[in-house]
């Protein structure tokens, strides 16, 4: 039995039966990383010493019978989540060498639950991108086709799970940065409701859109990880104090549920026929399981991308102001004055996509342009939320493709930012409206994975997970690590 191909649930059973140990799992996954990551390049840094300590502690807990469902399970963390004492750089050269003095809430909760941190995964710089090619270090490759991108921005985390290098991982999703790479790498990935998981310790890209979420090999695993991270945090004023009910009715099936099919999401620019067919097949399978498919409309979909590319850069222009070379990270020491020091540090430290978005956002917030751009975009955001509210009056969840395309070749879109931005056209509405959304693998097109997206009303992660779980059961879907 290859222990790098199992789910959290399966491994937890083996661990509790003492058929394996946390330290053995750690060793096997480090070996797997050693074998595969030269090709995949999912990890920026490994944390073997930290992992060894955690694995020993996990084995003690297993021996003492105090183990939980995540005890001893190897995980990987996107490079935007602060981990005390471990270099965390948001995929950017500007933060090279930065070791945060604290650990973020979500990661801490997983560590407290006994998970073992293998290392830090690659991503687009400051989570800005859809292919992980904007990393300040190197590109990550899709385990299903090494000439393909893994999606992004959490491409390293998705690829690590897909390649059997980690049992689960954490990503962040601002416009689709968990769901889209999950789809492209053939794993499960979920963005929770805005406010479900504390953002404390998440290096912010766009504060009103960012959420932390898991990549896993099964829907149940996804629910377990989410449940562990979720819940009120006094350190995040936007994190809600609500019941942690994400696993409610997970196995209840879809019989009697109404699943909304938004026509706008099936006619987007660049939708590949193979993707559309796979998703339609999945919808028929859900229908056969007892769900009712209903037509819904999200009429402002076309404006979502434009609104998103005003709001996200506006927030990023402010969030990234702290990277000024004064307190941490890269710092130009040759400048003659402070303005020159700022400009040199930021010009050298930030990559071109980050600079582009900082400039876009600065412009959109400028005096005289604020009303025409930022304020207008916020109004569109309200309309998009209203679209979803109205759609959810007719259905319990909305189903569509996660990404209009399968994994595209490395370099295919790097010269054309607009075509790259279109990768998120089906996912960013969920961020603008603050909705939970999950992507589950739903077959292949041209030998590459396709993702089915399930969006649910705010705070109804249980609904999204239940639909995804029903599809997983009906299709007999099992995430098999690639590159074996």
């Amino acid at each position: 039995m290859d222990l790098t191909r199992l789910t959290i649930g399966e491994l937890a059973d083996l661990l509790r039966a003492h058929e394996t140990s946390a330290q053995e799992l750690l060793g096997l996954h480090l070996e797997r990383i050693d074998d595969a990551d030269g090709d995949v390049k999912a990890f920026l840094r490994l944390t073997p010493q930290l992992a060894a300590e955690q694995a020993r502690a996990a084995d003690r807990a297993l021996k003492e019978g105090t183990a939980g469902p995540l005890t001893g399970i190897p995980m990987a963390v996107k490079d935007v989540l602060c981990l005390s004492g471990v270099e965390t750089t948001a995929g950017s050269k500007i933060l090279r060498g930065f070791r945060p003095p604290y650990t973020g809430t979500a990661v801490q909760r997983l560590i407290d639950a006994g998970a073992v941190v293998l290392g830090v995964t690659n991503c687009d710089e400051f989570a800005m991108g859809s292919s992980t090619e904007n990393s300040g270090y190197f590109a990550t490759h899709n385990p299903w086709g090494l000439d393909r991108v893994p999606g992004g921005s959490s491409g390293g985390s998705a690829a690590a799970v897909a390649a059997g290098e980690s049992v689960f991982s954490l990503g962040t999703d601002t416009g689709g940065s968990i769901r889209q790479p999950a789809a492209l790498c053939g794993v499960v990935g979920m963005k929770p409701t805005y406010g479900r998981v504390s953002r404390y310790g998440l290096i912010a890209f766009a504060s009103s859109l960012d959420q932390i979420g898991p990549f896993t090999r099964s829907v149940e695993d996804c629910a377990v990880v989410l449940e562990t991270m979720a819940g009120h945090d006094p350190l995040d004023a936007t994190c809600a104090d609500r019941p942690n009910d994400v696993r409610r009715g997970l196995d209840a099936g879809v019989r009697g549920m109404r699943l909304g099919v938004p026509k706008e999401y099936f006619d987007v620019e660049g939708m590949e026929p193979g993707v559309k067919q796979s998703v339609q097949r999945a919808l028929r399978m859900l229908e056969a399981s007892g769900a009712e498919l209903v037509d819904v409309s999200l009429p402002h979909t076309d404006y979502g991308l434009a609104a998103y590319y005003i709001i996200a850069p506006a927030e990023c222009s402010s969030n990234l102001a702290r990277f000024d070379g004064v307190k941490y990270g890269m710092s130009d020491q040759d400048a003659q004055n402070i303005t020159e020091a700022y400009m040199n540090t930021r010009r050298r430290g930030f990559g071109s996509e980050v600079r582009r978005r900082v400039m876009l956002g600065t412009y959109a917030l400028s005096s005289g342009y604020y009303d025409a751009y930022y304020l207008k975009a916020q109004k569109v955001r309200t309309l998009i939320k209203r679209d979803f509210d109205e759609a959810f009056e007719k259905c319990d969840a909305i189903v569509s493709a996660t990404s209009p395309t399968v994994a595209f070749p490395l370099g295919a879109k790097t010269q054309d930012p607009l075509s790259m931005y279109l990768c998120d056209v089906l996912t960013l509405g969920g961020n603008l409206a603050g909705l939970p959304g999950i992507s589950v693998p739903c077959g292949m097109s041209n030998g590459l994975p396709v993702g089915l997206q399930v969006l649910a009303p705010q705070w109804r992660e249980d609904t999204a997970l239940r639909v995804a779980r029903a599809y997983e059961v009906a299709s007999g879907m099992r995430v098999e690590p690639a590159l074996v």
């Binding site: 930065f98 912010a204 504060s207 936007t238 222009s317 102001a321 000024d324």
Partner: protein
Amino acid sequence: MSEAWEVVIGMEVHVQPRTRSKMFCGCAIAPLNAAPNTYVCEICEGMPGVLPVINKAAVEACLKTALALECEIPEHTKFDRKNYMYPDLPKGYQISQYDLPMSRNGHLDVDGSRVRIRRVHLEEDTGKLVHAGDKLHKASESFVDLNRAGVPLMEIVSEPDIRSADEAREYAMALRILLRTIGASEADMEKGQMRVEPNISVRRAGNPEFGEKTELKNINSFRALHRAIEYEVKRQVDLIESGGTVQQETRGWSEAEQRTFKQRSKEDAEDYRYFPEPDLPPLRLDRAWIEKLRRELPELPAVRRTRLVEEYALPAADAALIASEREWADLFEGAVEKGAPAKATANWIIGEPTARDLSPDFLADIVTLVSDGRINRDQGREVLAESLSTGTSPSAVVSARGLTQESDAGALESIVREVISSNPRAVSDYRAGKRQALGALMADLKKKAPAANPKVANELLQRLLAS
């Protein structure tokens, strides 16, 4: 000034509310002279990934201030980011309030004239830069101290209703008294807990248009405020009268040189790109909460001052002074309630600073002992000192030390005669018509007989000198 000029002043006052911790993190407020960067955490240092959380005590202090200034308080308020880069601003933006402040449209009455308050809002302070070698342009190195970064600040903005340096000072002092009375701030200017920035313009009398204004910074005392405004008004008038024009700019006050100097012109003004702080949801200002805070407000200084005059027949100046510190006024009323005479009580509080540390009971005791003539004022001071150091009641001190005032003229006569015989020069001066020589004789008498009732002794002295 060769023509009649009208001075127009609006005030921006930053006040540090009384809180234990900073505005958006749990760091304690650094005491003055704390070592640099010892009252900091990842949040106020602006580390990647951190988030702000609103300090409820700061909000309550701001709301109380707004209520005391009779401002309107909206149902919701929100925080905004003011974006600019400077090394003392670790996040690259300051969390402040832009278009939905905690409160608006209040007023403060100062000596019968009303100064309208435009808004009172909350924000966070920046850190401090320390330059190696005094002058910024010559500094070889600059250091950043973030102890103050994230300290809460209330900004109280007035309308341009002030018409002189005197009024501006009165306004600032009245505001300070109000803030201290309601417990919203210590408002100590020297500790940087209150910073006053006047916006000043001049116009020819009768002109309805405002002139170009300048904003003054670096003012560290009420006296400096007054001088800086007087200097700036003269500068502006001289400039206009000599054919120049005032430029809208920020000017600093140099205490050393007693002049204002240009810091930043309007053209250099940054575009702060304000937008709603996405890390903080809008704050609902619950009416029940507001009403609770309103009920908790103590009697405001202006009201109390009037009442002290009406209820206790205090002179206006005494009432103003006593009402300027809530503790003094509470002490005054407490002592009077215990039976001490009002005017004498006020005199003790005003004239004997250490008396302000007494309990109302002890103060009433001491004032009564003196005004009943059981001890004299000098003895009273001794009793005060002993009561404060031992905690013994003034009456008990008097009994224990057997202190009484000698009011029997017969018993004092021999001492008075001794004073007359040992001061022949003063006696002859007095008899020659120099009434002030009596003072020297009384002083000697006090030395020889500390317990003498001064009134009885004085009469006796005069009688014996006349005979």
